[in-house]
Every structure is written in C-alpha cells, then in structure tokens.
C-alpha cells in the first residue's frame, strides 16, 4: 500500500517538474533555441542533424562552439578539444547540484543518466526550485523538467528550422540578448548563499579579463580564479562577522 502511494506521488512530482516547461526560464531557453536555429541555418547544417545535436549535446554554448567548428572545417580532434574545454564548467555545476538533488537511496547510475539534462538553464531552474521539493522526490522533479525541456526543444528546433531564415535583424539581436540577461537576473534572484553574489561579480570581471590574457582558456581560468577569490573573500568576511561580538 505504501509503495503504491509512493509511486503515485513520484509520478506527480515528475509531472510537476514537467510543468516547468511553462516557466519563464524554459520560455527564454526556447527563444534562445530559435536564435540557435537561425545560426545553424546560416551554417548550412541539415535540420535532422540540428535536432540530433539538440538532444545529444544539449548545452547551448557547447553546440554553438560545435557548429562554428563544423563551419570552419575543423578536424574531429580540434572540434572535440574546443567543445571539451568549453564544457569543463559542467563539472562544478553538476557537482554543486548533486548534493541538493540526491536522496539517501538515489542510485549513482540514475544521477549519471540525469546529469545529461544539466545545462545552464536547467541548473539555474533546479538550484532555485529543488529546495522546495521534498528530498526523496527531487530526482523525479528534476527528471520531469529536464526530459520535457530537452524533448520540447528537439521538436521546436525541427519545426522552426524552415521559418527562422527570414527573421529581421532586430528580432535576431533581441533573441540573442535574452540569454545573458536572463542568466544574470535568475542567478541573483535564486542565490541562497552569500558566496553566490560575490562569485557572480568576480566572474563577470574575470571573464573579459582572462579573455584578454588567455583567450583559449578564458572561461576555465575565470571560473577557477574568480571563483576561488570570491570564495576566499566571502570566507574572510564571514569569519570576521562571526568573530565580532
């Protein structure tokens, strides 16, 4: 009896996660995918491959780099290296999410499987909403959101591929700009630890700085350098505050 009860509520949480497709972050991501679709049309990549890429790579920045590698006629090794370097950030993102997500009995294989659905939007969404979900249903909630979001975008990309070529430049420009503006507001809005604000500020400065110093490894260096500095600064500030009477 208990098992039936539990199974039903797991399904209910999966569906609650799936309803996240109607949230602001999901809508913004879909608009960004429309923008990405326009890029692939310009690059001359056939629609079936764009749909395949959406499902199997998922992270939008990685796909943009993959498409530009294909466009420039890069070799497999060069393209692999460029995408790998740009995707290192997925590791700390997943590592920060896993302790929030897993229950006491969550098997590792399930986490490995679900990690595929982590990209910036799903990460920001999950870090924001998951704390309000009972711990033993968090995996179901995230699975519902992640799977629905990927499937919806695969369909979207297939449908809009033939429509996006004629977008006026003003619309294309605004679609592109949605992504950074959305990331900024939602990270600030969803931050539950003071270190997030400091890291956000340090990363915004470190990104361009390292792009100027070492453009091939800029994101990686900005993340590790800026993030470590932000962590250290917040820690000193915190211990001083705790030491004060």
């Amino acid at each position: 009896m208990d098992d039936v009860e539990d199974e039903r509520s797991t399904l209910a949480w999966f569906l609650t996660g799936a309803r996240g497709i109607f949230s602001l972050p999901a809508v913004i991501l879909m608009l960004s995918f429309v923008g990405f679709c326009a890029l692939t049309v310009q690059a001359g990549i056939p629609p079936e491959q764009v749909v395949f890429m959406t499902g199997i790579v998922w992270a939008l920045p990685a796909k943009v780099i993959l498409v530009s590698s294909i466009l420039s006629g890069a070799s497999l090794a060069t393209a692999f290296l460029a995408v790998t370097l740009s995707s290192v950030r997925l590791m700390p993102m997943v590592a920060a999410l896993v302790p929030e997500l897993r229950g006491s009995k969550t098997p590792t294989w399930l986490l490995l499987l679900l990690s595929h659905f982590v990209a910036i939007t799903a990460w920001v969404f999950a870090m924001e909403r998951v704390p309000q979900v009972p711990r033993n249903h968090r995996v179901a909630f995230f699975a519902g959101f992640g799977i629905t979001l990927v499937a919806a975008n695969m369909v979207l990309v297939g449908v809009v591929y033939h429509l996006v070529a004629e977008f006026p430049p003003l619309v294309a420009g605004c679609l592109f700009f949605l992504t950074p503006v959305y990331f900024l507001t939602s990270i600030w809005h969803s931050a539950r630890h003071p270190v997030i604000y400091v890291a956000l500020a340090f990363g915004l400065v470190a990104g361009p700085l390292f792009y100027w110093i070492a453009p091939e490894f800029d994101i990686l260096l900005a993340g590790i350098g800026g993030g470590t500095l932000a962590w250290g600064a917040e820690r000193i500030w915190r211990s001083r505050r705790e030491a004060a009477p």
Partner: protein, 114 residues
C-alpha cells in the same frame, strides 16, 4: 568527405559534441556525491560554478556573435544597466529586469537603423 555528409556527420556530433560534454557531467556526479551539503568544499564548488557561468554571461554581452556583433558596446552595457535598475526597483523580479533590458536594446537597435 565534409562533416555535413551522412553517418560521418552524426559520428562527428556524437564524439565532438556528446562525449565532450557528458564526460564532464559524469565527473561532476562522481565529485558531487562526495560533497556534504553544508561543507566548505561545496561552498568553493558553488563559487567556481557561479563564476564560470558569470564569465560566459560577460562574454555573451561584451563579445556577441551574429547581428549584435555590429551593435555598439555602450548600447549593450546600457541595456544591462537599465535592466538592473528596473530589477532592483521591482523588488528583484526577474521579468521586470529582463523585459526592461530587452526593451532598451530593441529601442536602441531600432534607433540605430537595424
């Protein structure tokens, strides 16, 4: 054989796209499983993950691709600044910040003849 032909195209996407990204996600799961939710190590991982995403954001705003590459930097920075003011005035409602920033950008692009 170019990379947009037949099965090779799919193999190319699978190796250079899927393997190159999921590799890091899997490593993230293995690392994250060892982290306690209240530990200082997780705090550091959070800071690094956030700074990485922030660096991506800064690059998208400062060095955009496509149409925006031709737009002036002051317009993009101005749109973000006005959007940030609206965000804080509206008691940190994301929609307010996003809508304002996009509206400022759209008006600017239109005024510049895009």
């Amino acid at each position: 054989m170019t990379s947009t032909d037949g099965w090779w195209a799919y193999a190319f996407i699978a190796i250079a796209g899927w393997l190159a990204t999921d590799l890091w996600r899997w490593l993230g799961v293995l690392a994250g499983k060892r982290l306690r939710e209240d530990s200082e190590a997780l705090n550091w991982v959070r800071a690094v993950a956030t700074a990485l995403v922030a660096a991506v954001i800064a690059k998208l705003i400062l060095y955009p691709t496509g149409v925006l590459a031709q737009s002036p930097l002051w317009l993009r920075l101005g749109a973000v600044a006005v959007g940030a003011i609206a965000f804080f005035l509206a008691r940190q409602k994301p929609v307010a910040g996003i809508a304002t920033a996009i509206a400022v950008l759209a008006i600017g692009l239109w005024w510049l003849g895009f």
